[in-house]
Point group: C2
Chain length 190, copies 2
């Protein structure tokens, strides 16, 4: 999506440790009018897939998931990163290592909110090694919900997570696919 | 807001420890079409306040903040609960005890994303003892940003956080105000 690639080139910062910082418009400050356009694009891509629920993971997936969900007219469920006192024990769980934080989280989804009747679109801001998305996929599998696809804002294609998801039969649509970030230069896959 | 009060009575669960669970539509599963109506209501209430930024806190404030922000046409900034490797060191911070988790978090906002030119609407799903909102207010004060108001989905009025914010001169608009939850019975303040 050209407007997203242009924005990444304008405002994205390649930081140490192979990190692409887009915190000025994606995942700390959220440029909501801009992200609405991305949400509309996800709708265009998946509107014929019978989606009745969007599943994402806290925290930075929630904004784009909600903005996309309004075009589908469906609820969002966000997986939480640890058990809290107001989540019931009746949850689906998966273990997810975090690329950013360098730790492993349990992600949890209350069973009431994901069932075998659900046709799910996974949405997240980033797809890198794929651990978060594979965790969400595993939770859907456990619930018997059908994953109809994954909508990703930025895929770091060279980290292989997208390939793993596609190998599991998931239709992955990434609005920007980064081929490489060597020497701070962002190259997109065409 | 009657539609919200009705929904809380229908789907809210009063749980042990004075917890109101609205996780089926507010803060685990998010009923996006419903929350859009709440976002529109925040816009109706604050549209003449010159808001140019919405500030919330991860994770459960992000959805309603983004859905409201689109009506204002402004960005959302969400305070993060701990420093991660992709936030710069140049941040405003406040300490916030969590009612739900029973611990204390540092919340941080990158200085680039909050300045003395900002007219800020604080948005959150819950206002109870007010610690989160007072932390956001303190961060705005430190940044020199002007807090034009706070939009809250559910205020547990008997916990006093709203009063503390109002005593600091903040215009607090809560779409549902709970007067009491004794014996599992939810009573709204009129």
């Amino acid at each position: 999506m050209k407007m997203l690639e242009d924005r990444i080139l304008k405002d994205g910062i390649v930081a140490q440790g192979d990190v692409l910082k887009v915190s000025s418009f994606v995942n700390h400050q959220i440029d909501v009018p801009f992200m609405c356009k991305l949400g509309e694009e996800f709708y265009r891509l998946f509107k014929d897939s019978g989606i009745n629920k969007i599943l994402t993971i806290e925290a930075s997936g929630i904004g784009i998931a909600c903005l996309a969900a309004q075009y589908f007219g469906v609820p969002v469920v966000f997986a939480k990163k640890s058990k809290t006192s107001n989540i019931s024990n009746d949850v689906y769980t998966a273990k997810v290592p975090s690329f950013t934080h360098g730790n492993i989280s349990d992600i949890v989804v209350t069973k009431d909110f994901l069932t075998k009747d659900d046709k799910v679109l996974l949405i997240d801001d980033f797809l890198a090694n794929g651990c978060a998305l594979l965790g969400l996929k595993a939770i859907c599998d456990e619930a018997g919900a059908e994953v109809k696809g994954a909508g990703i804002v930025i895929e770091k294609a060279y980290q292989g997570g997208g390939d793993k998801l596609r190998a599991q039969g998931v239709r992955v649509e990434s609005l920007a696919m980064i081929e490489s970030m060597e020497d701070g230069k962002i190259v997109f896959r065409k």
